[in-house]
Point group: C2
């Protein structure tokens, strides 16, 4: 499928949240409702204001958004001082899965990482998604690391 | 051991690189030499200029830097629009290991993440470091994800 990639604009946020929520894990943690919770727009504005964050949408020939991902560029002292790219929040529309859209998205992120001079590109994938692990391995990623997370509650302070 | 935490300044970079290089994996990929490769200072300046990145040093009672870590704060649309903190490049001086300095560093990062309103704190740890996995589990992290990496070469474009 021929796709166009572009940076997301505020008018895209509702459609992006619709895709984030239409997912095994996303349906538990997202809230796709009208009106959309203001926290989504606030997060979009923070991403949009940060030159080291890009929220990228994939658009089909009819203008419909059918994929999304966020790429963060981070400078590090490690590896002799270098930039790395981190991919997060990858989703494709559930009605068009299996058509290589995810692969096109990730290859676009790899291209952006190279353009930005990154030495490394990385992501974490939930161990509850074995298909995603194989998908990323097929694109050239290696699961060399454990991805460790901790939820924070303000009341734990 | 009583430690003080503060943001790193440019004069700290050489000492930080000394610690990064004094490590099983770091000795292969870092270059601690005089003069220090300019790429380290360039990376420091990029970190220092970015309000969403903090390079934090742990200082002992004599003023000596004995620990370092980088914390990156990133806004995301996922999880109903939220910020998350990522810890990277954690090192403690090899002569003072086993004295709880690493634990103090990570707890400081958790505190900063809460102050910045993060809903999640995360890191990846190399599967070649089983002790590190247990260390982070002891601090409350869970290895729910695979941490996938891909090295990039400009010539692959």
């Amino acid at each position: 499928m021929a796709l166009t990639f572009r940076g997301a604009v505020e008018q895209d946020v509702e459609r992006i949240v619709e895709m984030l929520a239409d997912d095994l894990l996303g349906k538990e943690r997202e809230r796709y409702a009208q009106p959309l919770p203001a926290s989504y727009l606030e997060a979009f504005q923070a991403i949009d204001a940060d030159p080291n964050n890009e929220l990228i949408v994939a658009v089909d020939g009819t203008g419909r958004i059918i994929g999304v991902q966020q790429v963060t560029f981070t400078p590090h002292l490690t590896h002799q001082g270098s930039w790395r790219a981190t991919i997060e929040g990858v989703r494709t529309d559930s009605t068009v899965r299996g058509q290589g859209i995810g692969g096109q998205l990730i290859r676009y992120a790899i291209g952006r990482a190279k353009e930005r001079g990154c030495r490394l590109i990385q992501l974490t994938t939930d161990k509850q998604r074995p298909d995603a692990l194989r998908f990323y391995e097929g694109l050239g990623f290696t699961a060399t690391h454990e991805g460790m997370k901790m939820k924070l509650e303000a009341t734990e302070l």
